[in-house]
């Protein structure tokens, strides 16, 4: 099993231009744990992932990866510490074909999956390996976005709404891939609107609202607190 990275965020403040988006976010994800952030649109979930990845200009507070402080680090350095990112908009490159999209992320170590294994896991991608990345269907693009980070040997995965807008059969396939990451002992921080999907795989849930973490729900309490959760999500 890989030595998974733990993530610890303390009093994270983040800004987009003049707007203050995160107001002191603190959360912890232990090595090998699967944790979700749930909450309504605009709560700051995506911003939290982008801040961990080093993709925001202005951020203060503390973010540690396996105990190492990275609040001021550049994205490429954070990636090289073993963090992999699947963005909400998928981030498939139009100027790269499917194989090039897969080969793009720099390997962190040799513990990642081989290209053959990835193609075995996602046969659709193999069939379309020579196609321009953005010619794929939405579901295929999402598979590609996830498949792309399996090759690098990263051990902390930041997944931003991997099931958004996808047909149930594809959601199942994505779910199987995430399940596989979990079995391999990787740490996963998942942003998810689809709470049913989230409850199936996550150990814990953080609830986010207006740039703050307002609650934490362990797996065991989900059934008992269902109505409260629905209220949080505005369902």
């Amino acid at each position: 099993m890989a030595d998974a990275l733990s993530l610890s965020i303390k009093d994270l403040q983040a800004f987009y231009g003049d707007s203050h988006v995160l107001h002191g976010v603190s959360l912890d994800v232990a090595a090998g744990e699967v944790v979700t952030i749930i909450g309504r649109n605009g709560a700051g979930k995506t911003t939290t992932l982008r801040a961990v990845m080093g993709m925001l200009e202005r951020r203060t507070g503390s973010i540690t990866l396996g105990g190492k402080e990275v609040i001021g680090a550049a994205p490429e350095r954070i990636a090289r510490l073993g963090v992999a990112y699947v963005p909400e908009e998928r981030g498939i490159y139009a100027t790269l074909d499917v194989t090039e999209n897969l080969m793009l992320p720099r390997k962190v170590n040799d513990r990642g999956m081989s290209l053959e294994r990835i193609y075995k896991l996602f046969p659709n991608l193999y069939e379309r390996r020579g196609s321009q990345g953005t010619r794929l269907s939405g579901g295929e693009q999402q598979m590609l976005a996830i498949a792309r980070v399996l090759r690098t040997g990263a051990s902390l995965f930041l997944l931003d709404e991997p099931t958004e807008g996808l047909a149930p059969v594809i959601v199942q396939q994505i779910g199987a891939a995430i399940e596989l990451m979990k079995q391999e002992g990787h740490t996963i921080l998942l942003v998810e609107q689809n709470f049913r999907f989230a409850t199936r795989i996550a150990d814990r849930h953080y609830v986010m609202e207006r740039g703050r973490i307002i609650d934490q729900i362990p797996r065991a309490e989900i059934a008992a607190r269902e109505s409260q959760i629905q209220q949080y999500l505005g369902i």
Binding site: M53, G54, M55, A74, P75, E76, I78, A79, R80, Y85, P87, G91, Y93, A94, T95, L96, E100, M103, L104, P105, R106, V108, R148, T152
Partner: protein, 289 residues
Amino acid sequence: MSTQVLFGQLLVGLINGSFYALLALGFAIIFGLLGIINVAQGTFYMIGAFGGWMLLNYAGIGYWPALILAPLIAGVIGMALEKTLISRMYKLDHIYGLLLTYGLMMFIMGAFIWFYATAPRPYPVPPELGGGYNLGFMFLPKYRAWVVVVSVVFCFATWFVIEKTSVGRNLRAATENPMLTRAFGINVPALLTFGFGVGVALAGLAGVLAGPIKNVTPLMGGELVIVVFAIVVVGGMQSILGAIITGLSLGVLEGLTKVFYARGSDMVIFVVMVIVLLVKPAGLFGKEK
């Protein structure tokens, strides 16, 4: 009109087209990757030519080593400028990059005029490439054929590297989505420095090649860059293949215009530019937004 004249101008057109293609290719790489409209592209052409001349006259280093060294020198100067000055422009509007590189062009050209004045300095054709071939319908000087061949080879080698190798894949990714590409562990700032170096080194290569044909003078890049700018607009601002094909073909078109309507030869490229802008504003090989 004799076929001698026709083929003679065709050759001149191909040679100019080779220089256009090399400069335009570098320009397109730099614009695509950095978003900088590099007006100083002609200056690096001049630096390449002067680099060759200086190596020969101050260090006794001949044409063949200079063919490698002068573009490298241009590239290193370019990378130093990117690190210190140009990288500060990335977050600003395109116009600031244009103004900065315009200033750099004026400064570097002015400095060369200060030290070397504007009188042209000859650079000898290397003895191995002296003479020529009599093709029957025309006389083909060896050196001129060499220039065309080297330019075309370098243009297509550059295209190959960008389209078919992992370095090119990273460059394309960084061009399309720099922040996400960094999040995949790729050092995009270093890649931008490298890309700028490659872009200006191509201009430097054109400069050394031009030495024995055109006289070496501080002014040699200034006029060229305006034509190159038009070529890049015609080809499509970020299109690698567009820059190469448009550069070569508009060079030939310019040569042919000299044969059929000499007075129009200086403006034919700009006429094409206007027509292309009216009909297909993104350029012949550019993608519409």
